[in-house]
Subunit: 456 residues, 2 copies
Amino acid sequence: MKKILILGAGKSATDLIRYLLEHSQTFDWEIIVGDLDKDLAAQKVGGHPRGKAIYYNVMDADLTDQLVAQVDVVASVLPAKLHYLVAEACVKHGRHIVTPSYISAKDKAMDTDFRSKGLLFMGEMGLDPGIDHMSVMQMLGEVRHIGGKVQAIRSYTGALIAPESNTNPWQYKFTWAPMNVVLAGQGTAQYLKNGRPKYIPYNRLFELTERYEVDGIGSFDGYANRDSLSYLNKYNIADVPTFIRGTLRYSGYCEAWNAFVKLGWTNNTFPIINSDTLTYNDLLEAFLPSDSSEDRRPLDVRMADFIGTPPDSELMYRMRWLGLFDQKPIKKANATPAQILLDLLEEKWQLGTEDKDMIVMIHQFDYELHEQSFCRQSTMVMKGKDHNNTAIAATVGFPMAIMVKLILTGKVDHLSGVKMPIMKEVYEPCLKELGELGVHFQEAETSKDSSQKIQL
Amino acid sequence: MKKILILGAGKSATDLIRYLLEHSQTFDWEIIVGDLDKDLAAQKVGGHPRGKAIYYNVMDADLTDQLVAQVDVVASVLPAKLHYLVAEACVKHGRHIVTPSYISAKDKAMDTDFRSKGLLFMGEMGLDPGIDHMSVMQMLGEVRHIGGKVQAIRSYTGALIAPESNTNPWQYKFTWAPMNVVLAGQGTAQYLKNGRPKYIPYNRLFELTERYEVDGIGSFDGYANRDSLSYLNKYNIADVPTFIRGTLRYSGYCEAWNAFVKLGWTNNTFPIINSDTLTYNDLLEAFLPSDSSEDRRPLDVRMADFIGTPPDSELMYRMRWLGLFDQKPIKKANATPAQILLDLLEEKWQLGTEDKDMIVMIHQFDYELHEQSFCRQSTMVMKGKDHNNTAIAATVGFPMAIMVKLILTGKVDHLSGVKMPIMKEVYEPCLKELGELGVHFQEAETSKDSSQKIQL
């Protein structure tokens, strides 16, 4: 019998746990699920005879050591910064590990340790990063196989709300870690355009978007996601002149979100002293440039003026709908602007019990073949069932679970070191099984000469 | 004989060392000057019989311990973040310490240690912070003494170039730590206006300036400096509805600098890969939003369009003068945008050997007395002699040196803990002696009813 340790039993672990339990009889596995909240772990295990829920605290190094020593492979959905603590124990005890997070510098530094012991640390094995890497690599292989010379790759993903649950003017609800949404994009985005690196600082990120349409689903704005340049070598696409990874939101969101960036409300680095004595109205007043005693215009008119939009614009409608101009009290004391904004949004953007979330992933490849130009687009749309059975939990959990299976069934014994899923022996079986689980990509192609769309 | 340890022998130590050596015979002092560069320390000591130059590395804890144990008081002009390492040794050996830097959280945490041992850690004892605190406290005392009710305090300081050396279109040359100028203002500025806190994020800081005129000197724009709110308690001015501390630049500078902020060139957190293979032109192209193949306009025209200024504006003249649109190669490899910008500016904004720098400090007090409104302005203008004998080195070094003297002559034995110079027994003798050393404040007052200016 092989043993699997799952660390973290929150939202992102739901389908990971479910998949592994469902396959545990067939493959003779035991699944140990650890969380700070043992009851949550027990709830996810649901009394399955091959499952076991335990208390787990990553800060307890002895506990980590003891647990890792007992199992064959670890699947960690802990916060991204903490995986390395578990990975160190994996090196010590000769165990493999799988995570859905961006590989950090600390993770990467363990590459030699993992390789020298023949162990695998598979990072970026969720949705984005994860399924995006795998599906781009597969498309790249196909286009290159037919002799196409790739001119541009644009790869965008959005964790969104399904059209049928799209009931607020922001066209957004929280389906995932809300604070990550508030802080998204801070830093400088980097990508490649026509052979040259391009940089977008945070203060312009939500202004510089690209529009994407998905038939029957909606219209989306994509903004650049982190450092795409670092993937040129990882994807082995140094010959591709244009490459960008990005994030999708329903159209209108980015323009409105940019108002919060400009205002300074996404800052999470300093406290507003005694914020619990203020209203949102007060806080807006405190960040708006003018409060001269002559300025008697209503706050919403001044806000519109500040943003540079008419007072009756859709953007202002979104702001009013949030209750920004009401005398709504701020709850938290000495909170950062980002925490205060988050409090408001969590109330307004809450996922209802019947709400369905939706993942949209779009890859566009421009390529040349026999002196003709083509654009091949691969689109994946997956909807969740309800607020407990989300598409995001499935698309993060399934790749991890499949990876655990590949490891335990000896399919990737030749792989070692700190890796991401860009090798055929991983992405091929993984995408195939994801398709069976409902994560489908649809491909279409247009020739620039005929402008005709061909469903592939 | 009393011993004084000066840590750091760079620009900011010149007048500190000079003053203490000049007074060493009178007061029977020995001055030990430590620096990573022992030759630099020796040069500043200049063979004075009561001076001694030594090698010093703050990272060598044993050396710090050994040196601090030998002396009576330490004056540290090390980088602000490192004072606490020396202060810890001061607590251990029962020594006082003086610094010209903002009191950090680590410094502040030693308050009880210093107090319990009857020791003084005098921080913020330079120019800004330093002379600004002292002169504001003195003015406040005077206005309150005559029964004035203070409505507003605006306190601005600029480390600038004297009008006679003001020879470039930016009206700026580096007279102090250049990287601090490039990174100035990052974060969120905080101040008080009409009884309410106001916040300005970095992306709007250089847009929201106040104009100040100084007769015979020039026209200046002031931008808000860090967290003024935290001084409301320290200055004991919780009853004053408007309070702002700020930084002065000659007019035109802030507007042009804002273009670099908007562009993203003041970011110091990520490297431009292979930056030494690029020109400044290339880097500008990489940060400007559009590079569509149809966009054949010259780069300077696109830059003007991006900033929202006519191509022949003064702002664009400043940019052209920097050589931004020439094929100028970038020197450093894998440098951050801020480092690359700094390289360019250090060449263009270099202080000539004959150049005189200039400090301008302006305090404005609005107050009411007998139902009349008054505005009292106190202005300090001090020019340096040349690039080695700067006003900034004098205005940072003299307050520190005078503080050391007050400590060693037993004038402040009752003070202990981590303090800033806001107590009368410090600022009164200190400002008096600064006046004798050429640091003069001139006061003028206008009554809002008569609009008549009265020289005080």
